[in-house]
């Protein structure tokens, strides 16, 4: 049988003894290391409100619509990561093989993955001292490379590095999705939009932040967000980042929407944030996009309590499941790694 990997890749596996007793894991949520990530703080530090544009009229609320009623092309971009395997090294450090995938799913009119937006990557994270032979390889058409990491760098722990890698993939998928949609409908991204992300236009993209936890500037946050009724959208806040010097002329815009009635109007549970990026002073223009996005998010959100996140959109769940399925099975991969190493040894 032909070798699956390049010789240098297999040599690397062998050096790291990856063929011996590989421990496996399935999804990111299965392992403590990835599971106990704190929710992204609703951190306004460094941000200040520049302007405030009402999205809905006083007392007006949105209602859930059916797909047909909305009648617009909708796509959502998301990314997943999958911890494939690890091996404890002599010095107590770990090697991780992580699978990353990002892509967009079209929710309506078709319910399918937009294949051109699919981005995948397999990364072998190796402690810096152990990485003698970096490699770039391919496995079933998925780029596969080694990346060194410093296990003792507390400022930049491994999960941040992984998260950055994943964000990069998602960003690439998002850009592709913008092209795919060609200015039609609405494009959501599961997660915040930042300055580096594409500008929000008539069709998005709009970031969707599902878990809010205020850390700073709580007053501002509270005065704008709290007391939202079910289906109500807050004003669109134009935010200026004092720290950001490079991206002049770009502003982040936030709007909040309650998609679940938890019986307590002051509770943040059931509130999501819609995240936009645009030129300064474009509040008026973006308010129309926010309205469309809010209507879409409310309509796609599921009724009732859900274990992981009550605000999850079913389509996001669908997308995540499918993206994970497009990453190779850890057990299969680890068996193939072991086989290749054995073949090399002979």
């Amino acid at each position: 049988m032909d070798m699956i990997f390049k010789p240098e890749t297999v040599t690397m596996f062998k050096m790291l003894s990856l063929h011996q007793g590989v421990e496996r894991s399935y999804y990111d949520s299965d392992f403590a290391m990835w599971d106990n990530l704190p929710p992204l703080p609703e951190d306004f530090s460094g941000l200040s409100v520049v302007s405030c544009t009402p999205v809905l009229e006083e007392g007006q609320v949105l209602e859930r619509l059916t797909m047909e009623q909305m009648s617009r092309r909708i796509a959502i971009v998301d990314g997943v990561q999958r911890l494939m395997m690890r091996k404890i090294q002599k010095d107590g450090n770990w090697v991780y093989l992580v699978g990353l995938a990002a892509g967009a799913v079209e929710v309506w009119p078709k319910a399918d993955l937009l294949l051109p937006t699919l981005r995948r990557e397999l990364v072998l994270f190796v402690p810096e001292g152990s990485l003698e032979l970096p490699f770039e390889d391919e496995y079933y058409g998925i780029p596969f490379r080694s990346v060194p990491y410093n296990p003792r760098d507390e400022k930049r722990p491994l999960n941040n590095i992984v998260s950055e890698k994943r964000s990069a993939l998602e960003l690439s998928a998002l850009n592709q999705a913008v092209t795919e949609l060609g200015g039609q409908g609405i494009l959501l991204r599961d997660g915040p939009l930042k300055f580096g992300d594409p500008l929000t236009r008539a069709n998005g993209p709009v970031g969707l932040v599902k878990t809010l936890e205020p850390r700073s500037n709580v007053d501002i946050f509270t005065s704008f967000v709290k007391k939202l009724a079910f289906g109500q959208v807050s004003s669109l806040l134009e935010m200026e980042d004092k720290k950001d010097q490079e991206e002049t002329g770009k502003r982040r815009y936030f709007a909040y929407l309650r998609i679940m009635d938890v019986g307590d109007p002051t509770s943040l549970e059931g509130v999501v944030r819609l995240d936009l990026v645009g030129p300064e002073g474009s509040g008026e223009e973006l308010a129309r996009v926010v309205l469309l996005a809010a209507e879409t998010v409310l309509s796609l959100s599921r009724v009732g309590p859900y274990a992981r996140s009550p605000y999850n959109l079913m389509t996001v769940e669908w997308l995540e499941k499918h993206l994970r399925a497009l990453l190779p099975d850890p057990s299969v991969l680890s068996i193939e790694v072991a086989r290749e190493v054995t073949k090399l040894g002979r």
Partner: protein
């Protein structure tokens, strides 16, 4: 033993000492090297000792391994976006276990460990060893029954056919898919050809008597002719079938030789001439090998055939009718006994004195007859009676009338009617004594007039349904001396008892009640003959009968079912072997069907296969039986733990009506 590894014993499913699973290897993920019916070998270790297990593959499944768990991922694997692992699992039923080259026990007692390599067995010798055929061959008790998937012949144990360990063969299958009739004739051909050897099993098969009942048209009247289907088939197919025959050690050109066959047909009618002409339209060319069959009064009385001619269901419902039937049979037997003893006495006198006296009694007629006889007088008193009656030079009516013995069903109804009506009946001359006898019989048993008339109506119905053709008048054509023993060619009893002879008896022209009569009558005669014969098992009688469910039904079978149970349960001891076939085994009497040591199942409906009668097949075989094509059957015999799926070739002899090719001969005749 070639090491042809095809997989490893799987631990994913539960292995047992009698059944284990093999995870099949596949180089490219798509191709495996094992099929259902293949033989595999694994090593089992007990107390550090290696025991070799053989088994046959009876089921194979394929699926994704756990890495593909959704339809979406499956599609992604197809598009080669992600890898997917294919998984093939073969279920193997253990057939035999060996320790250091010797068989351990009949039953395997340990279990192979998961991960043990499994080898495909293809060498003929080892396959035979795995399936116990080597043992059959060593004992010379092998009979080829078809070709297995690997092209090698499959055998059954003749010890389980000929009554040594078991007997009888049951074939079930839907009609029209070459399962029952074709396979039954194939088995018969295999037996006859196997009979060419010197061993004792071969001798028994050579000496065997083969009785075949023809149920449909005149299809089995062409066993000596070449099949049109064979002729019309493509050369490639014919070659394939020929090689199958050769693999089984059979001659592909072999047909049933006409000189060994007697084709027996029902008489065309009851008239003088018609009664001796068989109602077989298509085989006028068969000459002396074609004849009529029937029973005269001696057979009818001797073998109690009357009860078989009456509706079994109806008779079992009325006790009075049964009583009358028994008393009529008893009376006829009593009268026949009287006649027999008078004839015996006359013979004794004749042999002592050698001349005719003139006592003025009945014996004078017999003595006169004996003087006409120039051939040997048989020992058997029934045959002696036949010869004497034949030599009387006058119709037997008078003699029989004077005893009150009915010669035909009409005479019996007349006697019964006369007996009931008494003086009101118009008795013909010389019948007064007979009527007296019959009145006595009716009075003794206190049977009511209404019952007798009801009985007469049943007899008339039976006559209408054809009994008068089968219960034939005693033949009388002779004037003068008897120089050679008359043949009484109609007698089935004389027809079937030929060494290696095949007797085809036509039932197709008969009403179903008369079909039962014929089958019952033949079986009774055969059983009686075999019970009296000390060489019974060395000259077995094979009875090939289709539609067994009709003759030995599970419910309401009466005298017929009793007869079949007798054949099934005791026949083995006398060398009477039933090769029964039916569409639905579930409708055949349970005791009859379960007595069969060899069971053959061809294409069958799924609903029928769900019955207990098919539980001997493995679950997958039951499913397969509902879809297998023509010529494929599952054969099950006690010597092997697992039923074997075999294919048998098309028969070169015809099992359906075909045009006998006489054209060539005629042309030759014209051209000289």
């Amino acid at each position: 033993m070639a090491d042809n590894i095809v997989g490893i014993v799987s631990g994913i499913e539960k292995n047992t000492p009698t059944e284990f699973y093999v995870n099949l290897f596949s180089e490219d993920g798509q191709s495996i090297r094992v099929r259902i019916g293949d033989v595999v070998r694994v090593s089992v270790f007990y107390d550090d000792q290696e025991v070799i297990y053989y088994g046959t593959v009876y089921d194979i499944i394929s699926r994704w391994d756990n890495d593909v768990d959704s339809g979406f991922k499956e599609k992604a694997v197809f598009e080669q976006l992600v890898p997917g692992t294919r998984f093939y699992l073969a279920a193997v039923a253990v057939t035999r276990a060996f320790y250091k080259g010797r068989e351990v026990f009949d039953e395997p007692l340990s279990v192979p460990a998961p991960g043990t390599p499994a080898f495909l067995v293809t060498e003929r010798e080892e396959v035979e060893r795995a399936l116990r055929f080597d043992e059959l061959k060593r004992r010379n008790s092998h009979l080829p029954v078809g070709v297995m998937i690997n092209g090698q012949p499959a055998y059954i144990d003749l010890a389980f056919v000929l009554g040594e360990n078991g007997a009888h063969i049951n074939i079930s299958g839907q009609s029209g898919v070459a399962a029952k009739t074709s396979y039954a004739t194939f088995l018969m051909a295999a037996m006859l050809q196997r009979g060419q050897g010197d061993d004792r099993y071969a001798t028994a098969l050579r000496e065997g008597r083969y009785i075949v009942f023809n149920m449909k048209g005149e299809s089995l009247f062409f066993l000596d002719c070449e099949s049109e289907d064979w002729q019309k088939a493509e050369e490639g197919d014919r070659q394939m079938w020929s090689s199958m025959y050769e693999a089984m050690g059979l001659n592909p050109k072999w047909k049933f030789p006409l000189e060994r066959i007697l084709y027996c047909g029902v008489p065309k009618g009851v008239g003088l001439k018609m009664i001796d002409e068989p109602d077989i339209k298509s085989r006028s060319d068969a000459g002396d090998n074609l004849r009529v069959y029937g029973w005269d009064f001696i057979d009818v009385i001797r073998y109690h055939l009357l009860e078989l001619a009456l509706d079994q269901e109806e008779m079992s419902m009325s006790q009075n009718m049964q009583l009358l039937l028994f008393s009529v049979q008893e009376k006829m037997e009593e009268l026949l006994e009287r006649l027999l003893s008078d004839v015996d006495a006359a013979v004794t006198v004749f042999l002592r004195k050698g001349h005719v006296g003139n006592s003025g009694g009945k014996s004078d007629i017999f003595l006169r007859a004996l003087q006409n006889i120039r051939c040997d007088i048989p020992e058997n008193s029934y045959e002696r009676l036949r010869l004497v009656l034949y030599a009387c030079n006058e119709g037997p009516e008078q003699i029989l009338g004077s005893y009150g013995i009915p010669q035909t069903v009409d005479e019996l109804t007349n006697y019964l009617r006369g007996a009931v009506l008494g003086n009101k009946a118009e008795a013909s001359e010389g019948q007064e004594d007979a009527l007296k006898e019959w009145s006595k019989a009716i009075a003794e048993n206190e049977v009511g007039t209404a019952t007798v008339f009801a009985f007469i109506r049943r007899l008339k119905l039976a006559k209408k349904e054809g009994l008068s053709k089968l219960w034939r008048p005693f033949p009388y054509t002779l004037q003068g001396e008897v120089t050679e023993a008359p043949k009484f060619n109609y007698s089935v009893g004389r027809a079937w008892d030929r060494s290696g002879g095949i007797t085809v008896i036509d039932l197709s022209k008969l009403h179903s009640s008369m079909q039962a009569f014929v089958v019952g009558a033949v079986l009774r005669q055969v059983l009686e003959a075999k019970m009296a014969n000390p060489k019974a098992t060395e000259q077995p009688v094979f009875i090939f009968l289709d539609e067994l469910n009709k003759y030995a039904p599970r419910v309401e079978g009466g005298a017929m079912v009793k007869l079949f149970r007798d054949v099934a349960e005791r026949g083995r001891s006398f060398g009477v072997i039933l090769v029964g076939a039916e569409q639905t085994a579930s409708q055949v009497d349970f005791r009859v069907v379960t007595q069969s040591s060899t069971t053959v199942v061809g294409h069958q409906k799924a609903a029928e296969l769900s019955h207990d009668e098919y539980k001997h097949l493995l679950p997958r075989q039951r499913e397969m039986a509902s879809s297998v094509g023509p010529g494929v059957v599952f054969v099950d015999q006690p010597f092997l733990r697992v039923p074997i799926m075999v294919k048998f070739p098309m028969t070169i002899w015809s099992t359906k009506e075909t045009t006998v090719d006489t054209g060539g001969r005629r042309l030759g005749h014209i051209l000289g």
